[in-house]
């Protein structure tokens, strides 16, 4: 069975989706990720979807599930690199991915995760551009 690799980087988990998702693959990712968070006691998950050309309602739901499930397990999820066409299509479709935090790219996503980890969960989203 095809699976999407999950990389461990310290307290974080890094997932780069490089293939087109179908439902089973997305469901596998959901359970794999939750299990890996549990095993490593991870504090943050970064999902890079910059190579994903479409997200439909099912995959959108999986992303939302991952965000909520990891939150319950005390890990933050940030989705990075969504393509403009994908974002517009999701909005047209009526899917706003509530609960999913996003960032423009991996770098900004990492900053966001770090800020969330060290400042607690209640901190508002920060817009720190000092890395540029």
């Amino acid at each position: 069975m095809e699976r999407i690799p999950i990389l461990k980087m310290g307290d974080f988990l890094l997932v780069t989706i490089q293939v087109d998702l179908y439902d089973q693959l997305a469901e596998n990712l959901e359970s794999d990720l939750i299990n890996t968070i549990n095993k490593n006691n991870s504090k943050g998950v970064l999902i890079d979807i910059s190579a994903v050309s479409i997200i439909d309602s099912f995959m959108g739901r999986i992303l939302g599930n991952i965000a909520v499930m990891s939150k319950i397990m005390d890990a933050q999820t940030v989705v990075v690199g969504m393509q403009p066409a994908v974002a517009i299509t999701l909005v047209e479709l009526g899917l706003s991915l509530n609960g999913v935090i996003s960032a423009l790219n991996v770098e900004k996503g990492m900053d966001l995760l770090r800020a969330k980890m060290y400042n607690g969960d209640n901190e508002e989203q920060t817009y720190d551009d000092s890395n540029e």
């Binding site: 439902d23 050309s53 479409i54 439909d56 309602s57 066409a85």
Partner: protein
């Protein structure tokens, strides 16, 4: 008047058939010079409808065509299943309604992504959904 120029038929019986179908639809879009955004909308709509075809219709066939209405070029995708059909079509087209475990924005959400959307269903005899996305639509 809509005329078709290029046509092909794919059998969809399992979930793994979805990825090649999406790729074929994308190729049709690329061939007529459709923008990335319209391609994405068309493929997303295809992805939604083919899931319904598998989940409620138990699989079926999908026809992809290049079409023209004289002013514009487009891609037409037709989803045909021989499943149980839809009981209340107006209910199924309402935002937020779903019998399955999806988010319930399947049909109305999909309709918003394309330019033309037609659904024919008969209880016990299956469902046929036809969508068209125009290149400049």
């Amino acid at each position: 008047m809509t005329t078709a120029t290029n046509k092909e038929e794919l059998l969809i019986v399992k979930e793994q058939d979805v990825v090649p179908l999406r790729n074929r639809v994308k190729e049709y879009g690329v061939k007529i010079g459709m923008s990335i955004l319209n391609q994405t909308k068309l493929i997303t709509a295809t992805s939604e409808l083919v899931r319904n075809l598998l989940k409620y219709g138990g699989g079926g066939k999908v026809i992809i065509e290049s079409v023209s209405n004289g002013r514009d070029l487009g891609v037409r995708v037709t989803f045909i299943d021989k499943g149980p059909g839809i009981k209340d079509i107006s209910l199924a087209m309402q935002d937020g309604y779903s019998t399955g475990k999806s988010l319930g924005l399947g049909l109305p959400g999909t309709k918003r992504l394309v330019n033309e959307f037609d659904i024919q269903t008969e209880l016990g005899n299956g469902t046929t959904v036809t969508i068209i996305k125009w290149k400049n639509g």
